[in-house]
Amino acid sequence: MLKIRNLAKTFFPGTANEVTALRDIDLDIEDGCFAAIIGTNGSGKSTLLNAVAGAFQADAGSIELAGVDITGQPEYRRAGQIGRVFQNPFAGTAAGMSIAENIVLAMRRGQRQGLRRAVSRKAREEIRARVRTLNMGLEDRLDNPIGTLSGGQRQALTLLMATWQRPKLLLLDEHTAALDPKSAAQVAALTKEIIERENLTALMVTHSMQQAVQLPDHIVMMHQGRIIEQYGAQRKASVRVADLLNAFDRVRRRDLLDPDVAALLARQYA
C-alpha cells in the first residue's frame, strides 16, 4: 500500500520564481489498486510522481510504501521497489543495445552485476516467452538494437522491463502521451493487462480523460498542488469523460470567482 501524508514541496522558496507544487497531499493507494492522476498543467501531477520516486526530497510529510517509510530514501534505493515508465519512449532504454540486453538489465535490477555472459540461454528463453505476451512479434527480433523499434514498441518493452521484477509500485508518467493514437491505445491496453495480470499497485499520470475513465480503478484529480477530488470504487464505476471535464470546468470557474464577481453575485442573490 502507498500511503502519503501531508506531503508538501515548494521549489525556489523565497525567490521570485517560488512555486508551491504540492500542498498537504494525503493519498492512500491500496495494494493492487491502479490509480490515475489527472489535473491541469502545473497542478502537481508529475511532481507527486517524482516525489514518490525520490527524484527530490519533499519539504514536509511522509511517504510509506508496503509498510516502510521511504521518505528519506534516495531515488536509487527506491528504484529497487518502484518501476517507472516515462513519457519519452526513448528515456527508459539504451538505444544501441539489443532488446534482450536491455531486458537483462531490467532482470538484474537491484542485483550485484558481475562479469558474466550478458544473455544466457535460459534468460533468452524467459525473455522470448515474456516478450511474446506483448503480441508485437518482437520475440523474433531479440538481437535487434532497441533503437530500431517504433515508439510504441519501445514503450511496450519499457513497460515490460519496469514490471519484470514485479515492483511494489509502478509509476507511469504520461507514458502514452508521445505515441501516435493507435500505439497509445495499444500501450494503454497492455498497461491494464499487465497491471491486472501481475496484480500491481500503480500510479499513472495522464492527460487523457478517456484513459482515466477506462483504465484505472481510482482517479485522483489535482489542481494547484492539491488533491481536489477522488473517484474511487462506486464513484469511479459511474464516472464518464464528460463528468471529469465538467469537474475541471467547475475548478476553472471557481478560480474565476474573484472578489469582484463575488460582489456581483451577492447583488443577484440578495
Binding site: 463528468d243 467547475r250 471557481r254 470567482l257 463575488a262 456581483l264 453575485l265 443577484q268
Partner: protein, 416 residues
C-alpha cells in the same frame, strides 16, 4: 460534389453538382442543417447537375426532409436527371421529387421582414409580434421568500405541483424534508408540465421531471416566482443581419412595449448567442448560523459563475418575470438589470441541445415538451448581467426564438 446556395423569396435553392454518395452525404447534410438552423425551413434542391445518388445520399435527403417537416418546413428535389429520379422512385421516395404530380406550390410563409406591419427591426434583429389572447393576464405568486444567505428553517419549503398551465422559476428540489430535500436545493425552471432543476450537490448535473398522464411534477420550494394563466402575445425574433442577437433586457423591454405594461411574465425557447449566469453549487439548506456563504471567499463554495458567455448555438428554455417600475411591489422581488435604469428581471435558463422551431405561432406546451424529450437539460442558470468595468461579460443574448408573454395582473400578485 459542389454545392451552392441561392436564397429565393420564401425558400432556399440549393444547387448540387457531382456525386452525392457516402463520401459527401454527411457534409451535404451538415450544409443543409445549417440552412435550417439559420431559420430557413423550405429548401428546394436543384439536382440538374447531380450525376449520381447512392443509398447514403438518399438517406441524407430523407433525413433533411424529416427534419424540415418536423418544423412545418418542406424539402423537394427539382430538375433531377433520370438516373436520380429513377433511384428515388425505385427506392420508394418519389415524394421527394418536385414534379407536376407532387408539386404543392407551397413555398412556405414569408420570413419576417420590414414590409410586415407586425415586424419591428431593431439593431439587426427582426421582432415579429403575434397576438394570442390579447386580454390575457398572468397571476404571479411568490412562494418561500428565502433571505440569502440565512439558514433554512425547518418546514419552510412549500410543496408545489407544476401542471401544464403553470410556469415558474426559483430554488427548490423534489421530495420532502424527511428524504433529504434540504441537501439538494438548487435553481429550477418549470413550464408545460416539465421541471428542470439543478441539485445543489456540487456536481452540476441537471435533472428533470416530465409530467405524463396522472403524474404532475412537484417540487419543495425554498423561493420561487410562479405564474399562472394564458399568454397574450408571442414574439418571434431572428437576425436580419449576420451576427445580430437580442440581449435579454432589450427583449423584455420590447415585450413590455408590445404588452403596454410595466410588469410581465415570460417563457422563451431560443437559440443561444451566449448565456451569462450563476447557479448554486451547494444547497442553501446546508447553511448554518455561522456560515458566511454570501462573502468572498466562502461564496466560492456556494455559487458557480459561468465565467464566459456560455452555451452558444444551443437552445435555451428561459422563464422570467420582469418589471420596469421600480416602486412596484414585484420589483422588490427581482434583481436589477444594471444597463437598463429601472428594469428589474429575474430569469432562469435551462440549456438543451439545439433543435429548430417552426415559424409563426407555435404551442409552448408542445415545444417545451419536445425540448425535454430530446434528452434533458445540460445546464441550468440564474441569468444575470455582468457589468464589471472592462472585464464584464454583459448579459445573456439570443439569436432567434419564440417568447410567449403576458402582463401581470396587479390584483393577482400575491406572496405566500
Amino acid at each position: 460534389m459542389k454545392i451552392s446556395f441561392n436564397p429565393c423569396d420564401h425558400f432556399m435553392e440549393v444547387t448540387v453538382a457531382g456525386r452525392l454518395d457516402a463520401t459527401w452525404a454527411e457534409p451535404f447534410l451538415d450544409a443543409l442543417r445549417n440552412i435550417l438552423r439559420d431559420g430557413q425551413h423550405h429548401i428546394r434542391m436543384d439536382a440538374a447537375a447531380l450525376e449520381y445518388l447512392s443509398s447514403a445520399g438518399i438517406r441524407s435527403l430523407l433525413q433533411i426532409h424529416r427534419e424540415l417537416t418536423a418544423v412545418d418546413g418542406s424539402f423537394k428535389v427539382q430538375r433531377a436527371v433520370p438516373f436520380v429520379s429513377e433511384a428515388l422512385r425505385m427506392s420508394g421516395f418519389g415524394q421527394l421529387l418536385d414534379t407536376e404530380e407532387t408539386a404543392t406550390g407551397d413555398h412556405g410563409r414569408p420570413l419576417p421582414d420590414a414590409a410586415s406591419a407586425q415586424v419591428d427591426i431593431q439593431e439587426g434583429m427582426a421582432i415579429e409580434t403575434l397576438l394570442l389572447s390579447p386580454t390575457a393576464k398572468l397571476a404571479l405568486r411568490r412562494v418561500g421568500g428565502w433571505q440569502p444567505w440565512q439558514p433554512v428553517a425547518a418546514g419552510c419549503c412549500q410543496e408545489m405541483a407544476f401542471p401544464g398551465s403553470r410556469f415558474a422559476l426559483g430554488i427548490g428540489a423534489p421530495g420532502s424534508e424527511t428524504d433529504g430535500l434540504r441537501q439538494r436545493l438548487g435553481e429550477f425552471v418549470a413550464a408545460a408540465g416539465c421541471v428542470a432543476y439543478l441539485p445543489g450537490d456540487g456536481f452540476e448535473a441537471p435533472d428533470y421531471l416530465l409530467g405524463a398522464q396522472q403524474f404532475v411534477p412537484k417540487l419543495g420550494l425554498l423561493d420561487a416566482l410562479i405564474c399562472d394563466g394564458e399568454f397574450s402575445h408571442l414574439l418571434r425574433f431572428g437576425p436580419q443581419q449576420p451576427g445580430a442577437c437580442l440581449p435579454l433586457s432589450r427583449l423584455t423591454a420590447c415585450a413590455m412595449d408590445q404588452l403596454q405594461t410595466d410588469t410581465m411574465g415570460f417563457l422563451m425557447i431560443a437559440e443561444i448567442d451566449g448565456l451569462v449566469g450563476a447557479a448554486l453549487s451547494r444547497s442553501p439548506g446546508l447553511i448554518e448560523a455561522d456560515t458566511e456563504a454570501g462573502r468572498f471567499p466562502d461564496i466560492r463554495d456556494w455559487l458557480t459563475f459561468s465565467g464566459e458567455r456560455a452555451h452558444s448555438t444551443e437552445q435555451a428554455l428561459v422563464v422570467g418575470v420582469a418589471c420596469r417600475q421600480p416602486d412596484h411591489p414585484v420589483a422588490q422581488w427581482l434583481p436589477p438589470v444594471p444597463s437598463q435604469a429601472g428594469l428589474h428581471c429575474h430569469a432562469h435558463a435551462a440549456v438543451f441541445p439545439f433543435s429548430p422551431l417552426p415559424q409563426g405561432k407555435i404551442d409552448p406546451q408542445q415545444w417545451v415538451r419536445k425540448l425535454f424529450e430530446s434528452g434533458g437539460p445540460k445546464a441550468i442558470m440564474h441569468l444575470l448581467e455582468d457589468d464589471r468595468p472592462a472585464l464584464g461579460l454583459g448579459q445573456s443574448a439570443f439569436v432567434r426564438g419564440a417568447c410567449w408573454c403576458a402582463a401581470l395582473d396587479d390584483k393577482e400578485v400575491t406572496e405566500a
